[in-house]
Symmetry: C2
C-alpha cells in the first residue's frame, strides 16, 4: 500500500509553477508535460490545491499561480489538500472484530491512540518541511547540473 502519487505530483506541480511562472503560461498541459501525469488529473489536483488556498487558477485565462509564499506552504498542507488520507486515518482497522470476545470488543480502544500517534509523527514531519525548501533544493540541483 502506498500514499497516492497525487501527493508527489502536487509537489512537482507547485515547484513548476514557482519556477516557470513569469517565463511562460503554466497551463495544465504544460504541467502534464513535465509531470507525465494526465492533464485532467493535473486539473483535478490544481482544483484541490485551489480549494485549499494554495494556488490560483481561472477558467479561460489559463496559467496557475501560487496563492501563498513558498515558505507558508508545508508538505502537510499539500498532503491534506490532495486527500492522501481520509477521516478513517492512515491505518485500516479490520472491520468485524467479534464483540462476543473480550479482546475483539476492546482491541480498537487499546490500539487507536497508538495508531494516531504514529500517524501524527508522520504528519508532524511533513509539517516541518516547506515548499520553499524543496524548491530551493531543486534549483540548486538544476544549477549544479
Amino acid at each position: 500500500m502506498q500514499i497516492t502519487s497525487k501527493f508527489t505530483a502536487a509537489v512537482h506541480i507547485l515547484t513548476c509553477i514557482d519556477i516557470f511562472d513569469g517565463q511562460m503560461r503554466v497551463t495544465s498541459d504544460v504541467l502534464s508535460g513535465s509531470t507525465g501525469v494526465n492533464a485532467v488529473i493535473v486539473r483535478n489536483v490544481l482544483g484541490q490545491l485551489r480549494t485549499a488556498g494554495i494556488v490560483e487558477t481561472r477558467q479561460g485565462s489559463g496559467g496557475a499561480h501560487l496563492a501563498k509564499a513558498l515558505d507558508e506552504i508545508t508538505l502537510y498542507d499539500i498532503y491534506k489538500a490532495v486527500d492522501c488520507v481520509d477521516d478513517e486515518g492512515l491505518f485500516h482497522f479490520h472491520e468485524n472484530p467479534n464483540v462476543e470476545c473480550p479482546v475483539g470488543r476492546n482491541i480498537h480502544k487499546a490500539m487507536d491512540g497508538r495508531l494516531e500517534a504514529a500517524q501524527e509523527a508522520l504528519e508532524n514531519e511533513l509539517k516541518s518541511t516547506t515548499l520553499a525548501q524543496v524548491v530551493a533544493d531543486t534549483r540548486k540541483i538544476i544549477e549544479e547540473e
Copy 2:
C-alpha cells in the same frame, strides 16, 4: 489510501494468543472468530509472523504460541512482518516525470530525502511501542468492563 488491515489484524491475533494461550488451543479458526477475518487470511498472517520469528505454529497440532517475550515485539516488527510497505516506500512517486524538463528530471532527488524522513518518523513511533503495552492496555480495559 490506507495501510492494510492485516496490520491491525496481526496485532489483534498476537494479543489473543497471549491472552488465551494456556486456556485453549488458539487455532486459526479461533482467531478468525475473534478478529472476524477469514481463517485462511489468519493463517497467511500467522505464516508471515512465523517467518519473522514472532510466533510458532506447526502443521497438524494446532494452536499458535508467541516465540518472543511481549516486550521484545514492537509494532514496527509486526508492521514489517506483514509487509505493510514494500521497498518502494510509503509514498508513491508519480512514475513518468519528464527528463526533458529540469524540474521533471530533478524533483525525485529533491524530494526523496524528505519523504524518507517522514516515513522514518512513522516507523520510529511504531518502534517505540511494544506489544506488551497494547496487551497491558487491553487487559486493563477488560478488567474495567
